[in-house]
């Protein structure tokens, strides 16, 4: 295991977010020798997903604000006279204003730990039966970190802390009984959880009887590995660039997807379902016959709006929402089209943008189901990993927990020629892809970043209850005042493999105007009730209860011009972190653009040979291999010229 890294590559990729991973896969697929490193011990950077214990240690890191300065061998002495170094950052500064609240009752005296949690210094005691082990608690080595998180709570939550303590005591008294019930449930789960398809009705579970069987914090901890909590909340447009790329490159074989089952809207204090497909419109109970006809007519027009310029040409100068008012649509329908289908706001889009967005939405409908969106099972964090697997299959070398101290630049040619890693090893390469967060303040001093406000909630039921409790929903809540941004809410059910049974995982996202909590808490309060305020047993509680909530701001480095970074050599390419948008087109476009700079005229992620074809003839494998090894040589010189010719952003000095 203590292998040394090879000392020469064609491409070194630093960071394992989605764009970096796609580029790594594409380069490796085209025969380049790729080294792909990440300083963290997980894949994905800000695109990662975490189990519950994983997210706790992630946020602990940001709350502690620790300066991890483990002195590595000094690289300065390695820099020769004709070289310069660009030091990379040692600390991630992309996450801010992390706040966490726990509303579920906490039995702090109980030693709980996530079953099967991966910890560095964990004594390796694994009990007899692997299945049993998954349900039994371990030694409380993670306990301390839990305490720091939960102790935070009273200070953050001063107004209701009294109430909370009272509740806690209450719960401790019934712990025994509760635990028993809980045990039964987990066993039932291991038998049934894996077959919870949309069509299979699930036995009555906690969702239907929240009063009897409330989820406690220790249950969440124990079942922590059922959670896959995404740092970014996105969906795949079923005809978007990422789906096309996944299919074309065959990377789709590494992942599975679920359809978003419904589009929701929040109007006049109520959550309601938006009919968008033909079937939805016809089946809708909330629309009148007249409305159904209006909506169908309008949507049919949008599908091919370009063919009827006379219908919208006169309105090109006004906003989409003004345009909708001129159409034969009730206010109800205008709202649906504007916020839930075009997913824009009163002021943000003009008529043509709105029509385009509506058309795109309708175009994606029906490819895989009743809504235009797909979600990857186990979370968005799977996707970068799938591309990394593809890269590795074609020979790419992977190294997590591996940091890079600096880039070495040749003074004369102004090209980057190597990196120096944490062990002081110098690794030569022709191209360097660096994710934005790895650059130091010196490099980014002129960069103006935007921010994304994020919240992750664990709740006990859906925002809109229906017959099926396995719904995956997207809801857009328009900004309240001018200048505030619409909040995108994505609610995931357990069958997406991102949360434990009896809970829902809710992601909120918007462009930041203030801190994440300031931006998003008003929406959270509209849609949910804190667990503590709903103690009256007989009262029918309409809103879902919050069990746990996390807020944080993430730096948005998308759309930053390369010129904003100081003194980057032409063979150092910048990959941005996640953008705020719903789809992944931005990442794919960026990856393809950068790939074309490195490998001009190469096909971007062509389908790999079918494994079954290779098996049939052992010799074809050999020829395949040797063919690939020739490609890098042919390519190695060309990119230099074309980067300086073809890239308009290269003009900076």
């Amino acid at each position: 295991m203590a292998d040394n890294l090879p000392s020469e590559f064609d491409v070194i990729v630093i960071g394992t977010g989605l764009p970096e991973s796609i580029i790594a896969a594409a380069c490796s697929r085209s025969g380049l020798r790729v080294l792909h490193v990440d300083s963290r011990n997980y894949y994905g950077g800000n695109w990662a997903s975490f189990s519950f214990s994983g997210i706790l240690s992630w946020l602990k890191e940001y709350q502690e604000n620790s300066d991890i300065v483990n002195e590595s061998p000094t690289w300065q002495e390695q820099i020769l006279e004709n070289e310069e170094a660009i030091a990379l950052s040692r600390k991630d500064k992309t996450i801010q204003h992390v706040e966490v609240f726990c509303y579920a009752s906490q039995d702090l005296h109980e030693d709980v730990e996530e079953a099967g949690a991966l910890q560095k210094n964990h004594a390796s005691v694994i009990s007899g039966n692997p299945t049993e082990a998954a349900h039994s608690a371990y030694q409380p080595s993670e306990d301390e970190s839990l305490c720091t998180v939960s102790c935070e709570m009273p200070t953050e939550q001063t107004p209701s802390s009294d109430q909370e303590t009272a509740l806690e005591i209450n719960d401790v008294e019934v712990t025994g009984e509760k635990e028993k019930r809980y045990d039964d449930k987990t066993h039932a789960k291991s038998a049934s959880e894996e077959e919870t398809s949309e069509n299979v009705p699930i036995a009555e579970d906690t969702v239907l009887q929240p009063k009897k069987n409330r989820i406690t914090y220790s249950q969440i901890i124990k079942e922590g590995r059922r959670f896959n909590i995404d740092l970014v909340s996105k969906l795949l447009y079923s005809r978007g660039l990422l789906i096309d790329l996944l299919i074309k490159s065959n990377v789709s074989r590494y992942a599975e997807f679920k359809n978003i089952t419904r589009i929701l809207a929040f109007r006049e204090g109520r959550v309601e379902q938006v009919p968008c497909s033909r079937a939805d419109v016809f089946n809708s109970k909330q629309l009148t016959m007249v409305e159904k006809r209006m909506l169908m007519k309008f949507l049919t027009f949008c599908m091919e709006y370009e063919k009827h310029p006379d219908e919208y040409k006169a309105y090109e100068e006004i906003t989409f929402s003004e345009y909708l008012k001129t159409q034969k649509l009730t206010p109800n329908l205008q709202y649906f089209v504007l916020h839930s289908i075009a997913m824009t706001s009163e002021t943000a889009s003009n008529t043509v943008d709105g029509l385009k967005a509506t058309k795109n939405f309708l175009h994606c409908l029906g490819r895989y189901g009743n809504t235009p969106f797909l979600f990857p099972l186990y979370g968005q964090g799977e996707l970068p990993q799938c591309f990394c697997r593809m890269c590795a299959v074609f020979g790419g070398i992977y190294c997590l927990r591996h940091s890079v101290q600096c880039l070495v630049v040749d003074k004369e040619s102004r090209k980057c020629k190597a990196i120096i890693d944490q062990f002081g090893q110098r690794i030569i390469s022709k191209h360097f892809l660096v994710e934005d967060s790895y650059f130091s303040e010196n490099t980014c001093s002129h960069v103006q970043y935007r921010q994304i406000s994020r919240s992750v909630l664990i709740t006990d039921r859906s925002v809109l209850k229906t017959d099926s409790d396995q719904q995956i929903s997207i809801l857009t809540v328009p900004g309240e005042e001018p200048g505030t941004f619409a909040v995108r809410v994505i609610e995931l059910c357990p069958s997406t493999m991102t949360c434990m049974k009896g809970t829902y995982l809710v992601h909120l996202t918007c462009t930041s105007s203030k801190t994440a909590r300031e931006d998003l808490e008003p929406v959270v309060q509209k849609l949910f009730t804190p667990y503590t305020e709903t103690e009256i047993e007989n009262e029918e509680v309409e809103k879902p209860r919050l069990l746990w909530a996390l807020y944080f701001n993430m730096r948005d480095s998308s759309d930053i011009s390369r010129n904003s970074y100081n003194d980057l050599p032409s063979n150092v390419y910048v990959c941005s972190g996640p953008d705020c948008g719903l789809g992944n087109d931005n990442a794919v476009k960026q990856a393809e653009r950068l790939f074309q700079l490195i490998c001009p005229n190469e096909d971007f992620c062509p389908p790999p040979p079918n494994p079954e074809d290779i098996i049939i003839d052992g010799d074809s494998l050999q020829s395949e291999t040797s063919e690939f090894s020739v490609i890098p040589e042919a390519n190695s010189e060309t990119p230099k010229e074309s980067t300086s010719l073809g890239n308009p952003e290269e003009t900076s000095q």
Partner: protein, 203 residues
């Protein structure tokens, strides 16, 4: 071979330290070869072999680590929809045995809890250099409730047996699941695969 030409399809995933002979096991079984050198697996995602067991055609899709174990950087998604895991160590390498608990933790974290795990001690052709006794390995596998087998990819000892026994077990598990759950898929990923290559559903 047409896509429908089998009764069962299972995904088997190999894990274990670098250099313990994972790729050799796969190639011995699927191609009858013992590759002398490494690195010949570029571009090969998984290998396929269809075997017949009691008159039923079983297609085994066997996935290798693609070298990501070298620096302990295996992607979680690698484990996700595996029906069986073959956890391999080298009987001539104590270190590869000592790492097993770490591998088991990864399995527990990322694999389905219905996954069948087999522990394999490879390289018994090098018996004179053995560092891990059979008894130790047996005790360990028993404690972890795993099946255990010693193999030689080089001499082809127990390689067929390893995969065929595993296939039998997978068939009987799949049958049981179908009976118990009355569903056609034994897999955790009940989601859709988006291409038409539906590699992970068995018919």
């Amino acid at each position: 071979m047409s896509m429908e030409d089998y009764d069962f399809l299972f995904k088997i995933v190999l894990i274990g330290n670098a250099g313990v002979g994972k790729t050799c096991l796969v190639r011995r079984f699927t191609q009858g070869l013992f590759p002398p050198g490494q690195g010949a697996t570029i571009g090969v995602d998984f290998m396929i072999k269809t075997v017949e067991i009691n008159g039923e055609k079983v297609k085994l899709q066997i996935w290798d680590t693609a070298g990501q174990e070298r620096f302990r950087s295996i992607t979680q998604s690698y484990y996700r929809s595996a029906n069986a895991l073959i956890l391999t160590y080298d009987i001539t390498c104590e270190e590869s045995f000592r790492c097993l608990p770490e591998w088991l933790r990864e399995i527990e974290q990322y694999a389905s809890n219905k996954v069948i795990t087999v522990l394999v001690g490879n390289k018994i052709d090098l018996a004179e250099r053995r560092e891990v006794s059979q008894q130790r390995a047996e005790e360990f596998s028993e404690a972890q409730d795993m099946y255990y087998l010693e193999t030689s990819a080089k001499e082809s000892d127990n390689v067929e047996k390893l995969f065929l026994d595993l296939a039998c077990r997978l068939i009987s598990e799949a049958r049981q699941n179908t009976l118990v759950n009355n569903v056609s898929s034994p897999l955790p990923g009940e989601g859709k695969s988006i291409s038409y290559l539906t590699c992970c559903n068995f018919n």
